[in-house]
């Protein structure tokens, strides 16, 4: 063997030195230094918009850095495009999956690395290799199905198989767990550990401190485009990491005083059933519950057990297709045949499950997004014309109060990071002074500092008399906020608890159908 091939073990797998990147006026990365040792799982954490994805996209060759250097295996590298990074063994699973929906899983994996004979793609050969990889790592996939028909968990598998197929040695995963159930998350980490033990280097971006603490070897913390710390996981604790992320002391779990429910009912649902596609089980079966004003009712459950269907039935009772039974009442009005606008005018605020498609117009400015749904209100419209000055004044205040960054009202909503998009939605919905609040995954993809803020706002809405329905797949969130907890499993409410009477373990069991 050629001795020059043996690489010195002390060189880092990857090193970023003094990396800077600016988008327009936004400094996404400023003087970022990061060192990832070989054969480790390296966590990268930071609030939303802290610049984690940007740094990793630079490392993968998607963005060109304004300044700074990249070293891979001790060698200085300059990427003209991702293909150069791929050639050096780097692979990345993006936060928003890089999959074309109408094309098969197989084609999505092959793309750019097609085995070719006589100018034609040899799909059979690729499939054989993929099947053996899938067996080796326990990642089965239906190769010929269009990826848009596959659940997100499987889509992520496809993304990971892409990297394995390309023999990547350095795997970057950008917020891989935000779309996974607890079970899928632990499977993922089991696989990542296996890959690490085979000598691969793994960089994982997350905002969940728990995951960082239990699965990583080292952690780098980002804040506002800069690295604020790099520590060994075994020598730190969640509190220290949270402080590094936010730059001030954060209260990791807020203390929620007990509710004082009022007698009036905010939301009431009786015997709600929703037929699934013919032949399959019902999506919702005989769901009944009520939420009083002044209390928070949490709906716990692993994703995909009817939460989305329940939300659709509550928000668009008229349209919920295949609906078989059950009225929906808000504040003592039967709204079963109402349209969404009329329901919202009752004082119903909604933090939707999918903020990008249901909550925002990504191509429109922040100010217009702030107006969405409020455009007919007296505050913002008079005689058919918008009161733009009022809008600007109110939106400016709201953006300030809810700390939407950057502050400019003319940025499009799509330019904001996920956490800031969520803050914008929250700001808008609380502008209604809601009597009923339906909050679905209100802190998904949101950083620690903003979680605390949003949680406090929800509790304040409750104390001001709103009835709150909180749908969340984060157990911690439910246990922190909810006064009563319903567990949804396979479209049924299988248990109801008072928060004080239930442990996390007990809830987890019920969520699994136990």
């Amino acid at each position: 063997m050629d001795s020059s091939q043996i690489v010195d073990d002390t060189t880092a797998a990857v090193e970023l030195r003094a990396l800077s990147k600016q988008f327009g006026g936004v400094r996404a990365n400023a003087d970022v230094n990061l060192r990832v040792e070989r054969g480790t799982i390296h966590g990268v954490i930071g609030e939303n918009g802290a610049g984690k994805s940007t740094a990793m996209k630079i490392l993968y060759g998607i963005y060109r850095p304004d300044a700074g250097e990249i070293f891979v295996g001790g060698k200085k590298c300059v990427w003209a495009s991702p293909s150069d990074a791929i050639a050096m063994g780097i692979g990345m699973v993006h936060q928003h999956f890089m999959l074309a929906g109408p094309y098969s899983a197989l084609d999505n994996i092959l793309l750019g690395a097609e085995p070719v004979r006589w100018g034609f793609i040899e799909r059979k050969k690729a499939r054989e290799r993929l099947e053996s990889l899938a067996r080796q790592y326990g990642l089965p996939v239906e190769w010929d199905r269009p990826v848009e028909q596959l659940p997100v968990g499987i889509q992520q598998r496809i993304e990971i198989l892409k990297l394995l197929y390309r023999h990547s040695n350095i795997l970057i995963l950008d917020e891989p767990t935000s779309v996974l159930t607890p079970q899928e998350t632990s499977d993922l980490f089991a696989n990542l550990k296996k890959l690490r033990d085979e000598g691969k280097t793994i960089v994982i971006i997350t905002h969940k401190l728990k995951e960082v603490m239990s699965f990583t070897d080292r952690v780098t913390v980002f804040r506002a485009g800069k690295v604020t710390g790099e520590v060994e996981t075994s020598r730190t604790n969640p509190q220290e990491l949270a402080n590094l992320m936010v730059g001030r002391k954060v209260v990791l779990s807020i203390d929620v005083p007990p509710a004082r429910p009022r007698p009036e009912t905010a939301i009431e649902v009786q015997g709600l059933s929703l037929a699934g596609p013919s032949g399959s089980r019902h999506k919702l079966s005989d769901v009944s519950f009520s939420v009083k004003r002044g209390e928070i009712v949490g709906v716990a459950g692993v994703e995909g057990n009817g939460q989305s269907e329940l939300l659709q039935a509550l928000l668009h009772p008229r349209e919920s297709r295949c609906r078989t039974a059950g009225p929906v009442r808000y504040l003592a009005n039967d709204v079963t045949v109402w349209d969404a606008a009329k329901i919202r005018d009752l004082g119903v605020a909604v933090i939707p499950e999918d903020r990008q498609s249901e909550g925002l117009l990504l191509e429109r400015p922040v100010s217009e997004n702030f107006l969405l749904g409020l455009q007919r209100s007296d505050a913002f419209s008079r005689a058919g014309f918008l009161r733009l000055r009022n809008l600007e004044k109110t939106a400016t205040l709201a953006v300030e109060e809810y700390d939407v960054r950057p502050r400019g009202l003319m940025n499009t909503a799509g330019q904001l990071s996920g956490g800031n998009q969520q803050k914008l939605i929250v700001a808008r919905e609380f502008q209604r002074q809601p009597q009923v609040l339906i909050a679905a995954q209100p802190t998904r993809g949101v950083d620690v500092g903003a979680i605390e803020f949003i949680h406090n706002r929800i509790v304040r809405a409750r104390d001001e008399g709103a009835g709150v329905l909180l749908v969340s797949s984060e157990l911690d969130e439910i246990l922190t906020l909810a006064d009563r907890i319903l567990v949804l499993y396979e479209g049924r409410v299988v248990a109801e608890f008072q928060r004080a009477d239930v442990s996390e373990r007990e809830l987890g069991l019920k969520m699994g159908g136990g």
Partner: protein, 290 residues
């Protein structure tokens, strides 16, 4: 008579098939191509001039394709390189071709209406017809079985994914747009040196747009698109057949009404099917690396 009608359908569909396949490359790669009309027109002119000069329809159609490629390169410069709005840039290209052809005609032949006639022995008899159907199959295999076909599909459906897979999106788009220019040029050539005997002013008369309609109707896939072209070709063949035919023994139907037929079919088809057809997701969106 039916056989005649079918033969005529196949003949008049030929330019549509070339142009529609050209449109397929560009749109599947994410570049909306309403400039097809202009590329066809300049192609028709180029082919006529080329044939008049070289006395060979093959060299003539090569000139037509070259003219199409030239215009496609100009379109690519705006649509890909400068990231202009593709509808606006495409419209500009069409207007350019519409104005440029009579102008060049005037310079070369001192008339603006049409080029001198091409002798019958220097024109195509059937070659473009067969060629177009061979091309349908080639495109089908190309898109389905080759790496570049896959790249073109991803460039139009999810360019970021293609970029992340290490392929330069805009290079793929350039390739697709230039191919589309060549094919639209060939479509024009089959108008001027196959279906007729010279180039005449605005002789495409909306066929580029009809090809686009066929593309939508055919869901951006080669074989269904070609079949859609046959449908439009049939409407045109019927139209030609009906000219001069009198209804109920009275006066002939005014030719202006009959000539509406292919356009009417186009509108009806689009109105009925455009909703069921899903365009490549990134069609019309320029790609930029940061």
């Amino acid at each position: 008579m039916l056989a005649q009608l079918l033969a005529s359908t196949l003949r008049v569909s030929t330019p549509l098939i070339f142009a529609a396949l050209g449109g397929m490359f560009s749109e599947r790669a994410g570049v909306v191509n309403i400039a097809l009309e202009g590329m066809m027109l300049l192609g028709a002119f180029g082919a006529a001039v080329g044939t008049l000069v070289t006395h060979s329809p093959w060299l003539g159609s090569a000139c037509g394709m070259g003219a199409g490629i030239l215009l496609a390169a100009l379109y690519g410069l705006f649509a890909i390189r400068l990231r202009a709005n593709q509808i606006v840039a495409g419209t500009a290209i069409n207007m350019l071709a519409l104005g440029l052809t009579p102008f060049l005609c005037k310079i070369l032949y001192d008339v603006t209406g049409s080029t001198p006639p091409i002798p019958i022995d220097q024109r195509f008899r059937t070659a473009p017809l067969y060629l177009s159907w061979v091309l349908v199959l080639v495109c089908w295999v190309w898109m389905k079985r080759t790496p570049s076909g896959l790249w073109i599909s991803f460039a139009g459906e999810h360019p970021e994914a293609l970029n992340a897979a290490g392929i330069r999106v805009n290079r793929v788009r350039w390739l697709a747009v230039l191919i589309s220019g060549a094919l639209a040029g060939m479509g024009g050539a089959s108008l001027s040196i196959f279906l007729s005997s010279s180039f005449s002013r605005n002789m495409t008369a909306g066929r580029g747009f009809m090809a686009l309609a066929a593309l939508i109707f055919g869901k951006w896939k080669p074989v269904p698109t070609a079949i859609a072209c046959l449908l439009f070709g049939f409407a045109e063949a019927v139209q030609i057949r009906l000219q001069g035919v009198s209804l109920l023994g009275s006066k002939p139907i005014p030719v202006q009404f009959i000539q509406i037929l292919p356009y009417l079919v186009t509108i009806l088809v689009l109105a009925g099917f455009v909703g069921h057809s899903r365009a490549p997701k990134a069609a019309g969106t320029p790609f930029q690396r940061e």
